[in-house]
Amino acid sequence: EPEVTQTPSHQVTQMGQEVILRCVPISNHLYFYWYRQILGQKVEFLVSFYNNEISEKSEIFDDQFSVERPDGSNFTLKIRSTKLEDSAMYFCASKGTGAGELFFGEGSRLTVL
């Protein structure tokens, strides 16, 4: 069964360092997303990406965040200068059609020290 894959599964970094989280969405999907979940809290929307551009972003997704689809298979989330409050599980998701459901990856746990 096709699935969304994410790397790394866990990353520990120092405050102020840059982090790149990588995702390989399901191959024929057209819509891509990043969500995050701080421990014990709700899953929160960060950004959606379609047709090689950001289609929507939340208030959380400030100038420290960026997304990129560098080739036909990868979708990345970059945090330029990490803060303690960026510690969370980051989920990549993809969707095939406009009205379809999102399929999530297993997540990348980011710990900022």
Partner: protein, 113 residues
């Protein structure tokens, strides 16, 4: 603002003891209500999408229903492997064509053998 409230926060059942989880929502216009299952440290796993009041969907021991204000996830004769957190999310109409899902905090279900 779109909101999703799930109850109860936690539910303990004996194996075989049927019950229901509730998801109440407030949205400007519903474009889909989604149920996901989340195991500890994992990404949300898609279960169901419901689009209109009166719609029902079933999968094994799970059945999801939808009214204009809430959705229920009925669990019939649960087994220990059904233990997980069940997440409800909504996608709403918006002028900008929002694609984001708004999640509830989830119901943590524990099924004892």
């Amino acid at each position: 603002e779109d909101q999703v409230t799930q109850s109860p926060e936690a539910l303990r059942l004996q194996e075989g003891e049927s019950s229901s989880l509730n998801c109440s929502y407030t949205v400007s216009g519903l474009r889909g209500l989604f149920w996901y299952r989340q195991d500890p440290g994992k990404g949300p796993e898609f279960l169901f999408t419901l689009y209109s009041a009166g719609e029902e969907k079933e999968k094994e021991r799970l059945k999801a229903t939808l009214t204009k204000k809430e959705s229920f996830l009925h669990i019939t004769a649960p087994k220990p492997e059904d233990s997980a957190t069940y997440l409800c999310a909504v996608r709403a109409f918006s002028q900008g064509g929002s694609e984001k899902l708004v999640f509830g905090k989830g119901t943590k279900l524990t099924v004892n053998p």
